[in-house]
């Protein structure tokens, strides 16, 4: 509750004086970048898009209303629209290219706990690429951006029940793809 109040006061301060946008940026930049890099798979592109998201947010902050949507959901809607715009512009770029290079944490880190087998990030990324668009969106918001179910629902414009269903079906599908990979080895 206190956190919500402090965020509200930060937003009001930034709406009065855009120079006070800094704390809001610091609060959300990691999550927005993480969400975008998970969706586009390319750190350089993710940096461009993250810049676009925050510049647009700064420009539109005056018209933002707290009651209509939490700031996180609002920012991720902007991010989602930026991604859609980019994919429309660059038809060649696939929605989730998932080339295995997921930014600073990409490298050679392995998903070693899953089923006791050593699965690389690249395999996880390939598994994610086989999900439906809504499932990818839920996985990106819930696990890359770290949004709770309620905020994920608001960012996606869906009900919490629908997000829980999508989360479940996405995890079932991912598990299936990853287990299949493990057994193929």
């Amino acid at each position: 509750m206190q956190e919500q109040e402090s965020e509200e006061s930060l937003i009001r301060a930034a709406q009065r004086d855009p120079a006070a946008f800094g704390p809001l940026y610091e609060r959300y930049v990691d999550r927005v970048y993480s969400y975008i890099v998970f969706r586009v798979g390319n750190p350089a592109v993710a940096e461009d898009l993250t810049s676009d998201v925050f510049l647009k947010a700064l420009e539109k902050l005056g018209s933002y209303q707290w009651r209509a949507l939490p700031l996180s959901a609002w920012l991720f809607r902007i991010a989602s629209n930026c991604l859609i715009d980019r994919w429309r512009r660059l038809a060649k770029m696939k929605p989730v290219p998932l080339d295995g290079d997921l930014g600073s944490t990409a490298g050679e880190s392995d998903l070693d706990s899953l089923l006791g087998k050593r699965l690389t990030r690249q395999e996880l990324v390939k598994a994610v690429s086989r999900l439906t668009e809504w499932q990818k969106q839920v996985i990106a918001l819930r696990f890359a951006a770290g949004l709770p179910v309620a905020e994920t629902a608001k960012a996606m414009g869906k009900s919490e029940g629908a997000v829980k269903d999508l989360q479940h079906s996405a995890l079932v599908a991912l598990r299936k793809h990853l287990v299949g990979k493990g057994e193929d080895r």
């Binding site: 855009p18 510049l55 998903l111 996880l124 696990f143 890359a144 479940h168 995890l171 598990r175």
Partner: protein, 231 residues
């Protein structure tokens, strides 16, 4: 009814709040077997999916945002304001035109006792002022005299007596037409105006003959005025 989806979401929330996987699963003993593989997948995702942006990128973007925020007004927004001002002015003008045209149309058949009659007179005066051709203007004046005359007749029919205002307006219109003709004699306008004056004389004479002592008091202001104009 609580479903596996709800239990999964609840279980993940417990883990996200810092509890271990086993502790979270113990809360749902009947669902443990189904939940475990999904929770393990989610935990793996939680560990691998998040990425942090490079520090120099973070700092550069912060600097860029601060600079953007300091800009008082972008050229785009100024242009937008200018456009919006023009748009507002045009909207107001269009609204006034529509309103004005509507009022003029509504007042076209109004009589001197109608509140819309002033709009009709204003419209006519504007029409006279914008008619620059002398002959056309004088013909318009003659037409307006005829109009006033018809109004006197209409008022007479409806009220059963001469309307003071209608008479005054008829006098003014006739005087204006004659003045205009005196200043700028135009042969083509003289004939219709003379014809008009004759017609007016005939009509008023007929009226005074018909209504003598009944509709209009003999020697009244209106009668004297009308008589004076045609002397």
């Amino acid at each position: 009814m609580t479903t596996l989806q709800d239990h999964l979401a609840e279980c993940l929330e417990i883990i996200e709040n810092g509890e271990g996987v086993d502790v979270a699963l113990d809360r749902f003993p009947g669902w443990k077997a189904e939940l475990r593989p999904l929770v393990e997948t989610a935990v793996a995702l939680h560990r691998v999916a998040p990425s942090t942006p490079p520090e120099n990128f973070r700092a550069n973007l912060h600097y860029r945002l601060v600079n953007e925020a300091k800009k008082p007004k972008t050229r785009w927004s100024l242009r937008w304001n200018w456009r919006s001002m023009v748009l507002r002015t045009v909207t107001v003008l269009v609204a006034l035109c529509i309103l004005g045209t509507g009022t003029m149309v509504a007042s076209a058949d109004s009589l001197p006792d109608s509140p819309l009659f002033s709009f009709k007179l204003a419209g006519e005066q504007a029409q006279v002022r914008i008619t620059l051709n002398r002959a056309q203007r004088q013909r318009l004046r003659v037409f307006l005299v005829e109009k006033r005359m018809n109004e006197v007749a209409a008022m007479l029919r409806s009220q059963g007596r001469l309307n003071e205002r209608a008479i005054v307006l008829l006098g003014r219109e006739t005087e204006a037409a004659l003045r205009d003709l005196e200043k700028n004699p135009d042969k083509s306008s003289v004939a219709p105006l003379e014809k008009m004056i004759v017609l007016l004389r005939v009509r008023t004479t007929r009226f005074f003959t018909k209504s003598s002592g009944q509709r209009c008091r003999s020697g009244s202001m209106s009668k004297r005025r009308v008589a004076k104009w045609f002397q």
